[in-house]
């Protein structure tokens, strides 16, 4: 009984102590922390560039082709004109780095020489068919219905650098998704040189026969360069 009374008394004392006024801590102005050393923030990239997965490449390719499904894109790319621009998707899957689970072939995560050849083959097909569709139609295709060359061109003639730059910028944004003026290299100049050299080569009397005019060949070659550009394949 006595111990019970002691327990109750102790609890009562504790609760009285706990309900007392809290200790008051006087406010004091905070002093700023003194810098001991300064280090610039490291915002550099921490990993090397990676190859865009083959599926993403093909999806983008189809989108550039006008949002077609693979079979229709294959039909359009092959054409019925004996152009031999394209065979079938099946022929390029291994070269593009797709895994083949039937043969236990893993996905290619890095470019190789054959992949570069396949990129060229597919890129050429896309650009040549785009020139045919956008620039060589019997009736002029409105700019907003064009698949790649979404700009006006002076009929037949090659353009100078001033006229080339804004048109190249359209292509640059289409393929690489940012303005050409922000490129880390003098890309507009380099591609203009490529364009003019191609136009000159095809305008020469000894030039090989082409289905395109020299100016069209020039734009086709600019398109090849962008659809095969390292920035198109890496992220």
């Amino acid at each position: 009984m006595t111990s019970r009374a002691l327990q109750i008394a102790s609890l009562a004392l504790l609760s009285i102590a706990g309900c007392g006024h809290p200790a008051v801590i006087a406010a004091a102005p905070t002093t700023p922390l003194v810098a001991r050393a300064t280090e610039p923030q490291d915002s550099s990239t921490k990993a090397d560039l990676r190859l865009v997965p083959a599926e993403a490449y093909v999806r983008t390719y189809l989108q550039l082709f006008g949002g077609l499904d693979p079979v229709t894109a294959q039909t359009r790319a092959r054409g019925g004109d004996g152009g031999a621009l394209f065979d079938s998707w099946e022929d390029y899957l291994a070269a593009l780095g797709f895994p083949d689970y039937r043969l236990d072939l893993p996905r290619a995560t890095q470019t190789n020489g054959l992949m570069m050849a396949a990129f060229e083959r597919l890129g050429t097909a896309l650009c040549d068919r785009a020139v045919e569709h956008d620039l060589k139609g019997k009736t002029a295709v409105p700019v907003n219905e064009r698949i790649i060359f979404a700009f006006d061109l002076p009929k037949g003639a090659a353009v100078d650098l001033a006229a080339f730059a804004p048109r190249f910028d359209v292509l640059h944004r289409t393929f690489l998704s940012y303005p050409a003026s922000l490129a880390p290299t003098d890309r507009t100049r380099a591609f203009f040189d490529l364009y003019t050299a191609t136009v000159a080569r095809h305008a020469a009397k000894t030039a090989a026969k082409s289905r395109f005019t020299p100016a069209e060949d020039g734009w086709a070659v600019v398109c090849y360069g962008l659809v095969r550009h390292p920035e198109f394949h890496l992220y």
Binding site: D91, Q110, T111, R121, D128, A208, F212, L234
Partner: protein, 461 residues
């Protein structure tokens, strides 16, 4: 000043450092130095063919023949093997009506084979057989990776570069195609490899030709070449502004490689029908090795034209768990006879750059498999996976007409082959790989974590 007694922490660090130096010094004789590194690098005159017998072969039918019941070993017999197409099967007594096979030993040969070797047995004086390879695995992916890289899989990933990639990187980066790999377990992993040597891995040779075809009605070779040259420069320039340059610089050299590739008009080298026409000596109608024969024809043609450094390919049909074991010996026979036909053709082909030399004088062939098959015949009449293996080397730099290593007589398990730096043990794939690359003046330690050079395998040790 190096002071072992500075502080407890320093003492421990210093001790470990000293231990490391000591270990490095102690390991020096173990490293693949000596003769191999002293040799002049072979550079661009040597060619390589790597073959993978996919599925795991039965070594008792060729390299490590067993024709009698002993321990747990059930030999191949007329009961479990279809002998009707085997050139080298000669009945030997086994059990009443059931016959086993007589060992195949051509006159003058130090090597003894089983009938699976086929007519390749006649080339005994050029064959170096490695038996009793310790695989430590019975998993297909793991055994495949271990045979090609000397490393077991790590979390399902191949942790090291394969031998063909290493040789392509060291000796072939300037070649048009440093490495063409047809279903071979080639891997490009690790540091120090040249990006041009990234394997061209394809399911079949013919699929390459389609990517190399170019239309002529629109643009010209000069147009495409100008684009590729520009892109090569772009890759280099963008790399110069990047934190990590390896991938971009690699693309730059690959663009240059593409220009060379297309400039040499190589489509016909990769076209199956043209290859068949060009090399009628190979049996394209063979029941099991018909597809592989196209790859062999490609290897010969590509080496002849000096456009590849390494060709690697695989042939399936060896994974015989059930009644299909009846054809294991025939699969082997077709496989080895395809190799024999390829070597004979290389004998007839002049070296593309060395006047008066045959291609076979500078072509080095390594033949491996996932592992071998169980010594017992299972309930389904086949053999399962077993952690022993054999390999075959055909190379002027290897000692021929000899078998190195052995398996134990009763259980077919790898037996002690020699004293290695880590003690008496059986030879293993890392040792074979280290020895192979060291034969060409390449330090295995640069690329391979494990393995010790086995001088007994090398002609000039």
């Amino acid at each position: 000043m190096f002071n072992l007694y500075r502080s407890p922490a320093a003492s421990r660090r210093a001790f470990l450092k000293a231990l490391g130096v000591g270990a490095a010094l102690g390991a020096t004789p173990f490293l693949p130095m000596g003769s191999a590194l002293a040799a002049e690098p072979a550079l661009d005159t040597e060619f390589f063919i790597f073959l993978h017998a996919s599925g795991g072969w039965d070594v008792t039918l060729w390299a490590d023949p067993r024709n009698e019941k002993r321990g747990i070993i059930d030999p191949a017999t007329t009961d479990n093997t279809d002998t009707s197409h085997l050139h080298r099967w000669v009945d030997a007594p086994h059990d009443d009506d059931v016959k086993s096979f007589a060992l195949v030993r051509p006159a003058g040969s130090n090597l003894v084979f089983g009938p699976g070797i086929g007519d390749l047995a006649e080339m005994y004086d050029r064959l170096c057989v490695i038996n009793g390879l310790a695989m430590n695995t019975v998993s297909h992916p793991d055994g495949t990776a271990f045979s090609a890289t000397g490393r077991h899989l790590s979390g399902g990933r191949v942790p090291g570069a394969s031998i063909d990639t290493v040789l392509a990187s060291e000796l072939g980066p300037r070649q048009t195609f440093p490495l063409v790999s047809v279903q071979f377990p080639s891997s490009y992993t690790g540091d120090g490899l040249d990006r041009r040597a990234v394997p061209l891995r394809v399911g079949q040779i013919g699929s390459i030709s389609k990517s190399l075809t170019r239309a002529g009605q629109y643009d010209t070779d000069a147009d495409r070449d100008a684009v590729t040259a520009l892109l090569s420069r772009e890759a280099t320039q963008v790399a110069a502004t990047s934190s990590y340059t390896d991938v971009l610089q690699g693309m730059s050299v690959q663009y240059d490689g593409l220009r060379r590739m297309l400039g040499e008009n190589l489509q016909d080298v990769f076209e199956a029908n043209r290859l068949k026409k060009e090399h009628p000596e190979l049996d394209y109608k063979a029941r099991f090795a018909g597809g592989g024969a196209v790859n062999a024809a490609f290897a010969i043609e590509a080496l002849k034209r000096n456009v590849v450094r390494c060709v690697s390919f695989a042939m399936g049909g060896f994974d015989t768990h059930a009644a299909n074991y009846r054809f294991q010996a025939e699969v082997q026979q077709e496989f080895f006879e395809m190799i024999g036909a390829m070597v004979k053709q290389l004998d007839k082909t002049p070296h593309p750059t060395l006047v008066g030399k045959k291609l076979s004088d500078h072509t080095h062939i390594l033949v491996v498999s996932d592992f071998c098959r169980t010594p017992q015949i299972n309930m389904a009449g086949g053999r399962d996976h077993y952690p022993n293996n054999s390999a075959l080397v055909i190379s002027p730099r290897f000692r021929s007409n000899q078998a190195f290593g052995k398996s134990d007589p009763d259980q077919l398990l790898p037996a002690r082959a020699r004293k290695f730096i880590d003690g008496d043990r059986a030879i293993a794939p890392p040792d074979l790989i280290a020895t192979f690359v060291s034969a060409f003046g390449i330090s295995p330690r640069k690329y391979f974590r494990d393995g010790e050079v086995v001088p007994e395998l090398l002609l000039h040790a």
